[in-house]
């Protein structure tokens, strides 16, 4: 059973068709990279898979569950790290993590929170309000949330944006760790070089149509 199965998926915003007959299968324990220019439909596809958008037509299955009727079950096993940080500016890092994880029914101990914040490199700023954080620190905090949530499927929208070199390495290490425990990752990026280190499959979205690619094709282009 594939972790993610997308069949003939189309989506339109009004008259503008963003996705056209997208078909895709991602096996468990695989990292799939989605490439494409701005406006090619990458974020829309991720939002549909995260059950935040209902597709105009077509079908999605996450771990064998229907993307329209089994939303709650899917949401338990999936985490979407979107372009927006999903963080509350008036709360500090610890409070943001506690709140976000509580909504998933997880209640980590203070020691677990401290360990994960140290791992993502913001342990010294754990009590600082997020509104004082830089974009890179917010990104690291989002990954701390993913580390504690440990979802079966991780959807990443531009995971390397705003990160410095050590941040990129941290994310790459974390992706390898997820794959080692048979987790599945689908990420969109404008930075294929950072993604190819950890990604086994790659696809190119062009004007809403998905073209399966190989890294060799990418090099040739």
């Amino acid at each position: 059973m594939p972790a993610i199965r997308v069949q003939d998926l189309s989506h339109s915003y009004g008259h503008y068709q963003v996705l056209r007959q997208v078909t895709l299968e991602i096996s468990q324990g695989t990292c799939y990279t989605l490439l494409g220019a701005n406006g090619s439909g990458k974020t829309t596809l991720l939002r549909i898979l995260a059950t935040l958008l209902r597709p105009t037509s077509g079908r999605i299955e996450i771990l064998g569950r229907d993307g329209v009727t089994d939303k709650t079950l899917i949401r338990r096993s999936l985490l979407f790290l979107a372009h927006g940080s999903h963080l509350y500016e008036e709360l500090n890092a610890l409070e943001n993590l506690q709140f976000a994880l509580a909504l998933r029914g997880l209640f980590p101990t203070p020691r677990q929170l401290k360990l994960v914040l140290d791992r993502v490199g913001i342990g010294a700023f754990a009590s600082m309000k997020v509104r004082h954080y830089s974009a890179g620190m917010k990104k690291r905090l989002s990954f701390a949330k993913a580390m504690l949530a440990a979802p079966d499927i991780l959807l990443l929208d531009e995971p390397f944006t705003a990160l410095d070199h050590s941040g990129v390495e941290l994310v790459q290490d974390y992706i390898r760790e997820v794959l080692n425990r048979n987790g599945t990752i689908l990420m969109s990026t404008h930075d294929p070089e950072k993604a190819r280190v950890v990604s086994q499959q790659v696809g190119l979205l062009r004007q809403g149509t998905l073209h399966p690619w190989t890294w060799r094709q990418k090099d040739a282009s």
């Binding site: 709650t72 927006g84 008036e90 709360l91 409070e95 976000a100 509580a102 909504l103 998933r104 209640f107």
Partner: protein
């Protein structure tokens, strides 16, 4: 799990507000202006003020509450936090219940601060009726926050949400407003409870019906 989510949503909203003081300060500021304008308008005519005071109180409370309700979900737009609430596996009813509880607390805090000002500015004698008045405030404020929270979620993605919220919400809460004004008037006049008990019953029925309906509808609205 349900109870935990309710508690965490309340905790998050209260903590955020405690730190930013954005909602409470704007609610209080607006309400103080209303009190001052009305108190100066009726300074020459205490008789008219006594007859209209229940309406004035609820105009101030309702419009002040509207400010808080409007911010309840618009605050979630920053950093796309609303998206996280939508996509989380938590029961959406629990998120609704948490939001209602937080809005109810904000509105009640403002009312508790404002009411003594009404007593002073309009020379009200409320000592004997205070428990009944608190019961009326409690019931009517709960009704406003139960329906208002739903409409706050409904209008949050609309560009003109500050305008749309009162336009959609106020007609629906007319029964709450009428019942609250009539019951408050009865209590302030020192009438015996049976004379305005039916208004309290109306408030209780409204609360039960609209809370159940809003709780059920919230799932669809937040996912839409």
């Amino acid at each position: 799990m349900f109870r935990h989510v309710v508690q965490w949503v309340v905790w998050k909203d209260l903590l955020t507000e405690f730190r930013s003081r954005e909602t409470l300060s704007s609610m209080l500021f607006f309400a103080l202006i209303v009190i001052f304008i009305f108190s100066f308008s009726f300074s020459m005519n205490q008789q008219a003020a006594q007859e209209l005071i229940a309406g004035i109180i609820w105009v101030a409370f309702a419009f002040t509450g509207m400010i808080g309700l409007g911010k309840s979900f618009s605050a979630e737009l920053q950093n796309d936090c609303l998206e996280y609430l939508q996509g989380s596996p938590a029961a959406k009813g629990a998120i609704y219940a948490g939001k209602v509880a937080a809005n109810f607390m904000f509105m009640l805090i403002v009312e508790i601060i404002l009411f003594p000002l009404f007593v002073i500015f309009f020379n009200l004698d409320v000592i004997e009726q205070i428990s009944l008045l608190l019961l009326i405030f409690f019931l009517a404020t709960f009704g406003l926050s139960a329906v208002g929270t739903l409409f706050s979620a409904l209008t949050v993605q609309i560009r003109a949400r500050e305008v749309m919220l009162p336009i959609l919400l106020l007609p629906l809460v007319v029964p709450v407003m009428i019942a609250a004004v009539e019951a408050t008037k009865g209590a302030l006049n020192g009438d015996p409870l049976p004379m305005y008990q039916q208004w309290l019953e109306l408030l209780a029925i409204f609360n039960v019906v609209f809370t159940v309906v809003s709780f059920w509808l919230f799932d669809f609205i937040i996912d839409a």
